[in-house]
């Protein structure tokens, strides 16, 4: 998939909660506040995966949400980037012993960048978006 130059100036984001405790969501909402204001870089939240370029996933993947996560990923038009926010999606985090998990996220869909932390700081999420763009530039998108 050819890397579109315009992604650097316009990255529409879809939030997906795969069983998160809402801690990561609070940090993501902080991204939209005057302090971080990611709209400066053309990043904005959209309501439909069809409009999105970037999929931000939070939480360990529960058994119920896994098919939905796969569906949302497939609904996104190419080219697309996936970022996993929080340590839950990496290893299960605080929920690692739970009977209802079938995560981590990269067992379900390919992930481009991982942001560890419980929750990660907003700066770390912006850094991850930059990393994902660099990765796209090298045309290494896992799609």
């Amino acid at each position: 998939m050819k890397y579109p130059n315009s992604f650097r100036k316009s990255l529409w984001t879809f939030l997906f909660n795969a069983g998160s405790c809402n801690g990561c969501e609070i940090e993501m909402v902080a991204l939209l506040t005057p302090r971080y204001d990611v709209e400066r870089f053309g990043i904005k939240l959209v309501g439909s995966p069809r409009h999105a370029d970037l999929l931000l996933i939070t939480g360990p993947v529960t058994r119920k949400i896994a098919p939905r996560l796969r569906m949302v990923y497939e609904q996104m038009p190419d080219p697309k980037v996936v970022i996993n926010v929080g340590v839950c999606g990496v290893s299960g985090g605080a929920f690692y012993e739970s009977y209802s998990l079938i995560g981590p996220v990269d067992d379900i869909i390919p992930v481009d960048v991982y942001v560890p932390g419980c929750p990660p700081r907003p700066e770390a999420i912006i850094h991850a978006a930059v990393k994902a763009l660099e990765k796209l530039e090298r045309a290494e998108v896992a799609s």
Binding site: P4, S10, P34, D37, E39, V46, G47, R50, D53, D78
Partner: protein
């Protein structure tokens, strides 16, 4: 033959002008909204970046959809918005098709972009889009009444003042309503302006009337299945539609030009008028879209209906009555 060529190239010029200014004003709107929230906001070219990004993306056509309708709807929305712009004066340039249509035609044509979105919503056959399309139809039906009262009040006033062709936009811009009315009618005219300002965000599906799109509950509503090129065309249509609505407000209520007051050579007058027109458009978009969008939350669909039908309809009829009383006193 020359006339046909003029209309052909004029249409292309107006389309390019409408699309570019539409996108620029969407960018300005986003900056102003960000500044009011104490944010810095995106650069003014952001809608252009968004547009080129969307054009470079995959254009998904859902399996359950009706493909030809699904693909036709965005084209129809953009084309009908541009057609509307052909009937409205831009600066001191008269409307390209001024001889072929009047205010009634504009009120009718205003339905078409919204109808195209409804068609697209139904054609995508997603439950979210279907609910969004139904809400858009209900919104359309509700703002028709206040919009029609404006047209009726205007034509009645102009007809009573003895202006020939009271429905023609050229006679409306030549005789601003403010000069035709006494103090009572002035109150009526201000109310009419208020009604049109409140109808504008409904027409554009902006907050608080964005119930058909409602990102948080309907995930984008009408537009939920649209991506890539089709979504980019809807994006352009939104920009052109903002210009159209603002141009309608300007043509009905603020039709003055710089060249009416200062004597300028022809070319300079045209440029000054165009710049002044763009300023007026921005002021209207600021008060009718940006400021309302930032100060209010989304209304529920039944609130939208009761606001437009009951309250704004009543205000419209009150304005009409005031204009008539004014006519009887004078």
């Amino acid at each position: 033959m020359g006339n046909v060529l003029l209309i052909l190239f004029g249409t292309l010029a107006v389309a390019a002008f409408g699309i570019i200014t539409g996108l620029v004003f969407l960018g300005v709107d986003r900056i102003l909204v960000a500044r009011m929230q104490a944010r810095i906001g995106p650069p003014w070219q952001q809608p252009f970046f968004d547009f080129f990004k969307l054009m470079s993306k995959e254009n998904v056509i859902p399996r359950n959809s009706i493909p030809w309708l699904f693909n036709l709807a965005p084209l129809l929305a953009l084309a009908s918005s541009i057609v509307l712009l052909l009937y409205l004066p831009i600066g001191s340039f008269p409307a390209l098709l001024a001889a072929h249509g009047d205010l009634i035609l504009i009120v009718y044509l205003l339905i078409v972009p919204a109808l195209a979105m409804v068609v697209g919503g139904f054609a995508s056959s997603s439950p979210y889009a279907t609910i969004g399309a139904q809400r858009e139809m209900v919104t359309m039906i509700s703002y028709e009444l206040p919009l029609a009262t404006i047209a009726v009040a205007y034509a009645w006033k102009l007809g009573q003042a003895g202006v020939a062709h009271p429905f023609a936009l050229s006679s409306i811009t030549a005789n601003p309503i403010w000069g035709l009315v006494g103090p009572v009618g002035l109150a009526g005219a201000v109310l009419l302006l208020l009604v049109l300002i409140v109808v504008t965000p409904g027409e554009l599906s902006r907050i608080p009337f964005d119930t058909p799109e409602a990102e948080t509950e309907l995930a984008g509503g009408l537009l939920v299945e649209y991506s890539g090129r089709n979504f980019a065309l809807f994006y352009l249509a939104l920009g052109v539609k903002s210009i159209v609505m603002a141009a309608l407000v300007v043509a009905l209520f603020f039709p003055w030009n710089v060249s009416d007051f200062i004597a300028l050579p022809t070319v300079a007058a045209r440029i000054a008028d165009l710049a002044f027109w763009l300023l007026k458009i921005e002021v209207v978009i600021f008060f009718a879209a940006s400021l309302i969008r930032i100060s209010l939350a989304r209304l529920r669909i039944n609130h939208v209906v009761s606001l437009y039908w009951k309250y704004l309809g009543a205000v419209g009829f009150l304005a009409l009555a005031l204009l008539m009383i004014d006519g009887m006193i004078a």
